[in-house]
């Protein structure tokens, strides 16, 4: 094998070499031949299966397993009897190998976090979820237990929950932790509920009807506050990209219930004046809630407590490595200072005389966010992840995540047409929101279309929450989980596509060309009339079958109807 030096010009030249031809390495290096820096782009094509819905695969008489017959002697008044169906469920009849092939084919058509270099889903902290943690989460000692089981029979699980509470209290500096929420947004909803309960408890529930948040904080902050009936005031960024502090000072009043804010926000710029925001809200009697869904750049570096926050929350599926799991179940941990701990939802673990037990919920605790305790398998995964790393390891996670991000930033800014708005030539924390406005102006190719083209190389790519504040946005978050070679590969591919936008924009407009699907109709994806989330809905909407409508709850005539938020297109 000969050594070929490839230059940047080579890398962006078209047509591309095939991956095999270009697989070269320094002679005698003794390393695997493939190096993304040298070889340009991957030769990739996603599997594409014309796989039908599983109901269409049903063959009468087939079955995957023999289900035990029901107990003959089931008493009439058994709970099961009340919910027993009179007619059989229309489940597909299909054998195990066909089930396996069906779902394997479908999974091949997706780009999961275990498959692609998933740094393109900024804000979501797509880090590696160590596989060994599945063994603990899946242990019969955990999955074989019942939520209502007596505490003395699940001491190990309770110990894990208790110590996880302690770890998260240490990481956040908060005095008490609730592990009940099953997702990040549920945890934010819990925090908003605590805010409401706190002010109601002080007799100010009616007067404090405003919640302040920022446009670069996660939309769930505004959404959960609105769900609870708060008026929401949104702060926009000042010229430095920080929420306008003077706007906050103008907004706060005796009507302020709380500030919900992220730091760093989606821009990845740490707000060094965060305590001034907190003080401005505290001065009028409001609470400060720190959205730490993504705390991946701050472990062991900065804590909610020192910044003066009253409440915070973590998404354990972001910073603490549990899988995102296609929309859940996830886990959200709420942290509260001592003056709010009595409002925390759900059972918390305490240790008395060497035994762990569920603490009695305080009478003023907010309503349960979900039944029982939290999502135990995810809490175990997060616990194991923390214990495997230790305090120094957590700090190292953030150090590497920040280093990776700034490495990617430096490489990205070499691409003509992209910039990182705000804080020029400053380092960012764990993520950056870039803008392709320059490239779009030059070529007419949008950021969303670059994302479509990235799919042709097996990469996922995300723009930003809506509304777009940074024009033609892209949000990258490399976390600590990706090697330098992988970050290079991602950014080099993006650089090549940006060059392609200048020479062959039509190809990008019509991409993806090598993915499992081509472009989707955006309007259709945001129109509920086109959605079929069940076989029955599919038959009704697409096969024009009619069903007797099941009884539905109908609102009272005088019930005020809520306005729906406008539809937003992701990408």
């Amino acid at each position: 094998m000969t050594v070929t030096e490839s230059t940047d010009t080579d890398r962006t030249a078209r047509p591309k070499r095939s991956g095999a031809d270009a697989a070269t390495a320094p002679a005698g290096a003794g390393l695997p031949a493939w190096s993304p820096e040298k070889t340009g782009l991957r030769s990739y094509h996603a599997p594409r299966w014309d796989e039908p819905l599983i109901h269409a695969l049903s063959t009468p008489g087939q079955r995957g397993m023999l289900v035990p017959a029901p107990m003959a002697a089931l008493p009439d008044r058994a709970p099961e009897a009340a919910v027993r169906r009179d007619t059989p469920v229309e489940l597909p009849e299909i054998a195990q190998p066909q089930v396996l092939r069906h779902f394997l084919r479908l999974s091949q058509e997706t780009l999961g976090a275990d498959l692609n270099v998933d740094i393109g889903q900024g804000t979501c902290t797509m880090k590696y979820s160590p596989k060994i943690n599945e063994r603990f989460a899946g242990s019969p000692l955990s999955v074989g237990t019942h939520p209502r089981q007596a505490a003395e029979t699940v001491q190990g699980t309770l110990q894990i929950l208790s110590e996880l509470q302690d770890c998260l209290a240490e990481v956040s500096g908060m005095d008490a932790i609730s592990l009940q929420a099953g997702s990040g947004s549920a945890a934010i909803f819990g925090n908003a509920s605590i805010v409401r309960a706190y002010h109601a408890d002080r007799g100010e529930g009616d007067t404090r009807d405003e919640v302040i948040t920022t446009i670069y904080s996660h939309p769930s902050n505004a959404a959960t506050a609105k769900t609870l009936g708060y008026k929401v005031i949104t702060l926009y960024p000042d010229e430095n990209g920080f929420p306008d502090l003077e706007a906050l000072r103008s907004a706060v009043s005796e009507r302020t219930a709380a500030l919900f804010i992220t730091n760093p926000e989606d821009t990845g710029i740490f707000n060094p004046r965060i305590t001034e925001y907190v003080e401005a809200v505290h001065e009028v009697g409001g609470l400060c809630v720190y959205d730490q869904a993504n705390a991946n750049g701050l472990l062991g570096i900065a804590r909610a407590r020192e910044a003066g926050f009253d409440l915070c929350h973590f998404n354990l599926h972001k910073t603490f490595s549990t899988p995102h799991a296609c929309g859940g179940p996830a886990a959200g941990a709420i942290g509260a200072r001592s003056h709010l701990s009595q409002f925390l939802p759900g059972p918390r673990i305490e240790r008395v005389d060497g035994m762990y037990r569920f603490a009695e919920a305080d009478p003023c605790a907010i309503a349960d966010i979900r039944p029982g305790h939290g999502v135990i398998p995810n809490l175990i995964r997060a616990y194991v992840w923390i214990r495997a790393l230790g305090a120094q390891g957590l700090r190292e996670v953030s150090d590497i995540a920040v280093l990776n991000n700034n490495y990617a930033l430096a490489k990205m800014l070499e691409i003509p047409g992209v910039e990182a708005p705000y804080a020029p030539s400053k380092h960012r924390v764990e993520q950056v929101r870039y803008s392709w406005q320059g490239l779009t102006d030059d070529t007419g190719v949008s950021s969303g279309e670059l994302g479509q083209r990235m799919a042709d190389y097996g990469f996922h790519y995300w723009t930003s929450h809506h509304p777009y504040i940074v024009p033609e946005p892209l949000t990258l978050e490399p976390t600590e989980s990706y090697s330098r070679a992988e970050i290079d590969e991602y950014v080099n591919t993006l650089a090549d596509i940006a060059a392609e936008a200048r020479t062959d924009p039509e190809t990008i407009h019509s991409s993806p060309l090598r993915s499992s699907i081509h472009t989707v109709d955006q309007d259709a994806t945001t129109d509920p009339d086109t959605w079929a989330t069940s076989w029955r809905a599919y038959r009704r909407k697409y096969l024009a079958e009619s069903f007797t409508a099941p009884p539905r709850w109908t609102p009272a005539e005088d019930l005020p109807m809520r306005e729906r938020a406008p539809k937003a297109h992701h990408r």
């Binding site: 005031i233 509304p467 024009p471 306005e563 539809k567």
Partner: protein
């Protein structure tokens, strides 16, 4: 820093249709109509304000070329001996595009550092016609038209002066930006079409330029309904409502009219004019397309609520497309009388603001500036800074 040599040309009829509620100023008939209603162009005042601030901010700058009489010379306060005056071309009582072009031709010949013009999109097009697509002399507009879509304008006369005071041509260079204009006669029939005519070089100071107007994006029906709910909660039934131009206010009003106002009022708002809704008996009456004097008469001595939405991409709340809202009206109002509507998307396109006011009277602008709550939906607002343009 070397002396900045500039050419100045004023279009003395620019924007005359604005306070008259005529949507634009193109065409002699429109201009005659505005004059007959007793309105005059603000271009001379704007030029004078520019020179006043420039003298303070950039004492070294000098006007080297100026148009004759109302084309610029009249507003020069002093000096004039070193100025080359370009004679008027038009013989009639009214100035013409040829006058603007003559000044530009002289400016090119004299190799000035920048051509400053006071006018609107039409004036910018006249300059483009003379300078050509390949012209390299930088141009800076002082906004004096009705609603400017071109990106060659500073935000106000004072901003133009400040921009030139800090701009060093050799160091900072230029940007090429778009010259665009709408078809005004089509616009008066409710059809808004913007056409791109070409590009001109402007001083490379994007933060002090007002930027091109983004195409109208009427709020989707969901957000218009939400904004209508928010507006309804803010409106005082006893007040005179002065309803600004633009697709946001119009669509939100349509939703309001469908619901809460259904029995009282069925008129649609004009897309590009200022309309007034007055309490009358049990209901309200709508007076569409009011000019400045009519608005001032209808609101005298009464509670007034101004319903406005910023110009997309530019952020102007007052002073673009709504010159009917004169300082004479605004001086009686405070921030509490402003109801500002915008979708979150529109605010996003403004990168979080600020919003601007350029009423023509600085004291009025300053009285209304500060942080305001912009309604973005039911129960939701955005805190935005309102600044003098």
């Amino acid at each position: 820093m070397r002396t900045l040599r500039l050419a100045l040309v004023v279009n003395p009829i620019a924007g005359i249709g604005g306070p008259a509620g005529l949507i634009g100023s193109d065409g002699e008939e429109i201009q005659d109509l505005a004059i007959a209603r007793g309105f005059r162009s603000r271009a001379q005042d704007r030029a004078a304000e520019f020179l006043r601030v420039l003298e303070r901010a950039a004492p070294g700058a000098e006007v080297a070329i100026v148009g004759e009489g109302p084309l610029g010379f009249d507003v020069l306060s002093a000096g004039g001996d070193r100025v080359e005056t370009v004679p008027r071309v038009s013989a009639e009582s009214r100035t013409s595009p040829a006058d603007t072009r003559a000044v530009v031709a002289a400016a090119i010949a004299a190799n000035v550092d920048v051509i400053v013009f006071v006018g609107g999109d039409g004036t910018a097009r006249d300059i483009l016609d003379e300078l050509g697509e390949t012209g390299t002399v930088p141009v800076l507009g002082i906004p004096s038209g009705v609603k400017m879509h071109s990106a060659v304008f500073s935000r106000s006369p004072a901003t133009a002066a400040a921009l030139l005071a800090s701009w060093e041509p050799d160091r900072d260079g230029c940007l090429r930006v778009e010259v665009a204009d709408i078809d005004e006669s089509a616009r008066r029939s409710g059809i808004v079409t913007t056409r791109l005519y070409g590009t001109l070089p402007v001083p490379n100071r994007p933060r002090q330029l007002q930027g091109g107007k983004l195409g109208s994006s009427a709020p989707g029906s969901d957000s218009a309904a939400g904004l209508a709910r928010a507006l309804e909660e803010s409106l005082d039934p006893e007040a005179v409502w002065v309803l600004g131009p633009g697709s946001t206010v119009r669509h939100v009003w349509d939703h309001l009219a469908e619901g809460a106002l259904s029995d009282k009022e069925s008129h649609s708002l004009s897309l590009l004019a200022v309309d007034i809704s007055l309490p009358a008996g049990d209901g309200r009456v709508l007076k569409p397309g009011a000019d400045a004097k009519e608005i001032e008469e209808a609101t005298a001595g009464r509670r007034v609520q101004l319903v406005l939405s910023p110009v997309g991409g530019q952020g102007f709340l007052i002073g673009r497309g709504n010159q009917q809202l004169r300082p004479e009206l605004l001086e009686h109002l405070g921030q509490k009388d402003l109801i500002v509507l915008a979708t979150a998307t529109k605010l996003g396109q403004l990168n979080g603001g600020p919003l601007y006011i350029d009423s023509g009277r600085r004291s009025v602008d300053e009285a209304l500036t500060g942080y305001i709550r912009v309604l973005t939906g039911p129960g939701q607002t955005a805190m935005m800074r309102l600044e003098a343009g």
